[in-house]
Symmetry: C2
Subunit: 257 residues, 2 copies
DNA sequence: CGGACAGTTGAATGAATTCAACAATCGTGG
DNA sequence: CCACGATTGTTGAATTCATTCAACTGTCCG
């Protein structure tokens, strides 16, 4: 394991990656998650600056709101632990969950354009975050071009991820959606050194269905079907992936390279 | 009409806005399109720099490819005239159109994270673009923080727009999708001083259906239904919006503020 | 002029939803 | 620590919206 160039002695940990995990932009992009490390490649002087705008260790309990649509854009959030769902809604009250975020991912990016959050973010379990003051991020970014460039990359990655979700919502049937969902989770957990084959779903069946654009009951039915077919074992929110290749076959997944 | 502050004497026109249209960031954000002006608020010295990386007036004919998935990320594209569709696809060949872009919009942003395009971009009609060298954008952005900030805003806007499309794909029935689609087009044309009530669809029924996640035949049926109900008049690709309020009622649209 | 493509419409089919009833689990307060 | 209400998950049956398949028309362009 190489040392992390350019990050020598940093005291800011926006993101709580295990020390064994190399902080490498390319690797992150490949495994389909956002860029894991905002301060990647910054020099010590810049890190000190960055440190001054980071509020540390805010925590939220299950169901608590981080921000809601229309609210003034105050912070960008980096998840340290736990998980958060983001959603948008129509005037008549229907809701679409647009993202499900776990440790190491960023929230609030879409607010930058207008200065107001466009979506709602809600903790799915006890969740710890770092908050970065948006207003000072502006001035800060003027002084640290590499930081801004990092953010460009992160946003670019978010756009790509959204493209994938659109592909899923537009072109896949319910089985494919769920298979893809499980595979995606597996990859993201693996990237954080959690088990890739056995994990806890922090979203309810209802949330998963909403996220994937299908009914809660359909989620249940298909998870049962997967279980009967020997692809997974699932009990309430504990999943174990048994036949990963077959699951991939069901998903027929991913944007062609 | 005011003169454009801060752009005095610039020879770079990344985007071919009519001179009567004021180049105003906030207004653009409000009307739901991307930021219209990349070089907004740059000083003369910066403009000269920017000019050096902009390749001008590349044109593509209907059906021609601007870039395809996997290709190395060389350029960001700004559409001067015409229109372009972008799409992603699954390994088994299914395609999802993720964007439909007209004059004044940017392409290729999602490639920044990985250095390769993730989507395909294809001209829908004769289309003229400006290309910005990606490699030099890097160094350039280091020198012009305000440019990078503009790009952050543009990307943020793209993310928000993608959220809207997800909402559409996940939670709306076919009628709502088409109503929303027409309204969205209307707004974007209006923002460019084209007619908001009468315009040309550059996408085929098949493309529209793909974009909205419904079958081509369903698009036809529902457009006919709209026509019979007196909401629109449509002949082939020429549309006229007749009862806009009713169309909005059908769409029950937009993320709540 | 004719072939190709784009668009339209009908009929049969099907995947997923909705409605409903029920089971399992959680968590809070007595 | 248990009980009870609330929440979350599961399964069945009827329904529906959209798809698929198919035949056909109109329009564009070489």
């Amino acid at each position: 394991m190489e040392s992390m160039q350019g990050m020598s002695g940093s005291k800011v940990t926006l993101l709580p990656l295990p020390p064994t995990q190399q902080c490498e932009a390319v690797a992150c992009a490949q495994c389909g998650v956002y860029q894991l490390c905002l301060p990647l490649g910054l020099h010590q002087a810049d890190m000190t600056l960055l440190e001054s705008v980071v509020k540390r260790k805010e925590t939220y309990k299950r169901g608590q709101l981080l921000f809601r649509p229309g609210e003034r854009f105050d912070f960008i959030y980096a998840i340290r632990s736990g998980s958060v769902k983001t959603s948008v809604c129509t005037t008549d009250g229907r809701v679409q969950i647009t993202g499900f975020h776990i440790a190491g991912e960023l929230l609030g990016l879409s607010a930058l354009a207008s200065g107001h959050y466009s979506s709602e973010a809600r903790a799915l379990e006890t969740t710890s975050v770092c908050r970065v003051e948006a207003e000072r991020l502006d001035e800060l970014a003027q002084q640290i071009p590499s930081l801004q460039y990092q953010m460009l990359k992160i946003m670019s990655g978010q756009i790509r991820q959204d493209e994938e979700l659109m592909l899923l919502l537009g072109r896949r049937n319910a089985e494919e959606r769920l298979a893809e969902y499980l595979i995606g989770l597996s990859r993201r957990f693996a990237a954080r050194n959690y088990s890739a084959t056995q994990f806890h779903l922090s979203m309810s069946r209802g949330d998963i269905g909403n996220y994937l654009g299908i009914a809660e009951e359909t989620v249940c039915r298909i998870l049962s079907r997967f279980q009967n077919a020997g692809l997974i074992a699932i009990k309430r929110r504990e999943v174990r992936l048994i036949d990963f290749p077959q699951l991939q076959a069901v998903a027929r997944l991913s944007a062609a390279a």
